[in-house]
């Protein structure tokens, strides 16, 4: 079963990401994040907006996307992720609130969304604790009853049946 699913992962449905880092202002600091990110094998290119400490990341097609590795690289540089938007190029996904769907190599748990069919291309925001500033995490989780989100592990809180081959599970909002 796992092997069967593995073959699906080569279809890259997440092509780009926009990341904002927090805790820094200097170009020297941004450079350390940039250097760390470009060292990841699934990242094709990184464009920096120094004024906003933002990084536009383009992923290589066909290589497993490890979202936690991106976060770790920012933290290794000495900073934090305050925003991560993933661009999904896959229309017709049935998005339901509090439901998990596999997109590419990862499983995403949609929180606080209206039930809908996804457009051909859309952005979703990772809202696990380590992908938000402390302030925003508090604000977003104030009304949430989902415990694994509260404790924020981007590790499986509960992986859906048959998704053993996924890299990780992340909570996302639109």
């Amino acid at each position: 079963m796992g092997i069967l699913l593995w073959s699906f992962t080569s279809i890259a449905q997440i092509s780009k990401a926009s990341l904002q880092a927090s805790g820094l202002t200097c170009a020297l600091c941004a450079k350390s994040i940039y250097t760390n990110l470009t060292a990841l094998d699934f990242i094709d290119s990184v464009d920096t907006d120094l004024e906003t400490s933002s990084f536009l990341i383009v992923f290589k097609p066909g290589i497993k996307l490890d979202i936690d590795a991106i976060r770790r690289k920012v933290e290794d540089a000495g900073f934090s992720v305050s925003k991560l938007l993933l661009k999904v190029d896959q229309g017709g996904l049935a998005i339901r609130n509090d439901q998990k769907i596999r997109i590419g190599d990862n499983v995403f748990h949609f929180i606080g969304v209206k039930n809908q069919q996804s457009p051909a291309s859309f952005e979703m925001r990772v809202i696990d604790q380590k992908f938000l500033s402390a302030k925003e995490f508090k604000k977003l989780t104030a009304g949430s009853k989902i415990s694994c989100y509260q404790f924020s592990k981007s590790l499986p809180c509960s992986m859906p049946e048959g998704d053993g081959g996924a890299v990780g599970i992340f909570h996302v909002a639109l």
Binding site: Q20, S22, G23, L24, T25, C26, A27, L28, A30, K31, S32, Y34, T35, N36, A39, T48, L50, E51, T52, S53, A69, R72, E75, D76, A77, G78, F79, S80, S82, S133, A134, K135
Partner: protein, 288 residues
Amino acid sequence: MMHNSLRLPSIFLFLLLHCLQLDAQELYVYSEPASNVPAKSLSFKYAGKWMSESELGHEHTTVRHMAESSIGLGKFLMVRPAISVGNMYNRYPDQKLRFESASIYAKLRVLSIDDVHRHFRAAAFVKGVFSKNDLQYAEITADGDQTAIQGGLILTQLLHKLAISGTGSLVEVMHPDRWKDFGGQTFYGYQSINYSLSAGYLLFPRKYTSYEQTNFNIYVELIGSRGLDRDYAFMDLAPAIQLIVNSNAKINAGYRFQISGGAYRMGTSSLSISYERSFLNAIKRKKK
């Protein structure tokens, strides 16, 4: 001394209010911020310190050259071995440079509250210094003047581009004389509280466009020391400037001078110039 020191908080308040809207950095020239160098990064620094010393009625300039390397062991921990050579402790007219000290510094970031363009961070540090110097002055440092150990705490607040940082530490001189019986009180003290309050801000560029832009930072630091087992206390003011070139090299220049109190010191003013080059992701490991 008292009314003189009252002036200082107002200088910092002025600086704080004046710079809140502007840009600043925390890569201080005389002190350390609570942030560490990036994990797996390596940097090398040369620092020179020049001081005018009056000895046996002769005014002459003495120097200390220091080489250090900062190593990011992890995202929370860095270490920094350093050595120095100099002629500061020579007997006049001998001006030959000699090996003076070796030290190791370790800093652990213990708290980080990050937000976009700001952070509040705390770090704890320890330093061990082996020095060949004899005890000659009352002033206690962890810069190689005496064999000593130091432990302390750093708090740093980054507000957009202004950075304010405070450091407090205890220094214990570990020179063998400390445990010798000289038949009564000796001239030298062996314990001090050393502290600093630092502010810095980025003057240029006004707007960031690339990693290649040269950054220009200015700093003002207040550096003080107070003897615990012998009575001395002084405060120095140290304005400094810094250029950051290519996002990987720093050139620093600062002038430090006493503004209040006093102690039996080698000198009350000194000039420092340093150059530091960073190498990101320099330490490769097979497993992440």
